[in-house]
Amino acid sequence: MTEEPVDFSPLDPTASAARFDAIVGAVMRQATSELRRRRIRHTVTGQIYRWRRPMLAAAAATAIVSGAALWQTRSQGATTESGVAEALGVPTQLAGWVRDNTVPSPEQLLFSLPEIDQ
């Protein structure tokens, strides 16, 4: 099978540089919004905002486990009046969001980080 290749150059979309630039330009114009969305997603604020739900879920799980432990402690005669979260060292701010079932803004999360580190 040693046939010569067929010359498809009349069909080659890249044969004309001007036309091909116009084609690529149309693709890139349509891609603008998606590319912008991806850039925003990969900023620091965007990364933190993406983690808001997993962080709150983790805090809620911690509160539940801690609550169970505290309840057990109280039932064994403990006398402290502190809340579940505060007693076990869960940051007040985080516990408040879980309790109120609110989603903090990226800025609120960022400012609460020093408290979480303590």
Binding site: M1, E3, E4, P5, V6, D7, F8, S9, P10, L11, D12, P13, T14, S16, A18, R19, F20, A22, I23, V24, G25, A26, V27, M28, Q30, A31, T32, E34, L35, R36, R37, R38, R39, I40, R41, H42
Partner: protein, 189 residues
């Protein structure tokens, strides 16, 4: 398979995932012709092929995080092209604005060349449409885009032997349809 160039496809895909427009444009320029070859094979005409390609690149960009093997981006892209080509009637026509017939026409002799190429293009499209879809895709990937049989076989999920058979049958049929005089016109264009 087309060469990956100075920056490999895997690196470009990772940058494009972060919204790097330059990286995405490089991918478009590098793989547009292969995508066009498949789109043309499946749609049968150049205008629909361009629309399919544009739509497929947009779909690929939106789903770029699903490309599990960035080093094999082009194979994943071509599958997207095939999927989009199946829905060619639903696409919107977003024209680039420059038609082949009106590019760089500056003299009567250039006009004649453009007209001749338009006629050749129309006859080629008509001839390609006569081929079975698989033969079309193989001959366009091989003779238009320059892929070797190994890459074609991988892309289509077939063997190199079958790819060669498809190419042989496609070329034979195209010569029957186009005739030797048209082939001679190519050589003297």
């Amino acid at each position: 398979m087309a060469p990956s160039g100075p920056v490999a496809d895997a690196a470009l895909v990772k940058r494009a995932r972060r919204g790097d427009g330059t990286a995405f444009e490089t991918l478009v320029r590098r793989h547009y012709r292969a995508a066009y070859a498949v789109a043309l094979a499946m749609s049968g005409n150049a205008m629909d092929a361009e629309d399919v390609c544009q739509d497929a690149f947009m779909k690929a960009l939106s789903r770029l995080d699903d490309c599990r093997h960035p080093e094999r981006f082009v194979a994943w892209l071509l599958q997207t092209v095939r999927n989009r080509a199946h829905n060619v009637r639903d696409y919107q026509r977003i024209r680039a604005g420059v038609s082949l017939d009106h590019v760089n026409v500056s003299s009567p002799s250039d006009s004649a060349r453009v007209v001749l190429r338009s006629e050749l293009r129309a006859r080629l499209e008509a001839a390609i449409a006569e081929l079975p879809p698989r033969d079309r895709e193989v001959v366009l990937l091989h003779d238009l885009e320059g892929w070797r049989h190994r890459a074609i076989a991988t892309s289509l999920g077939t063997s190199e032997g079958r790819s060669r058979q498809h190419l042989f049958h496609a070329r034979k049929r195209l010569r029957e349809l186009l005739g030797p005089e048209l082939v001679q016109e190519y050589l003297h264009d």
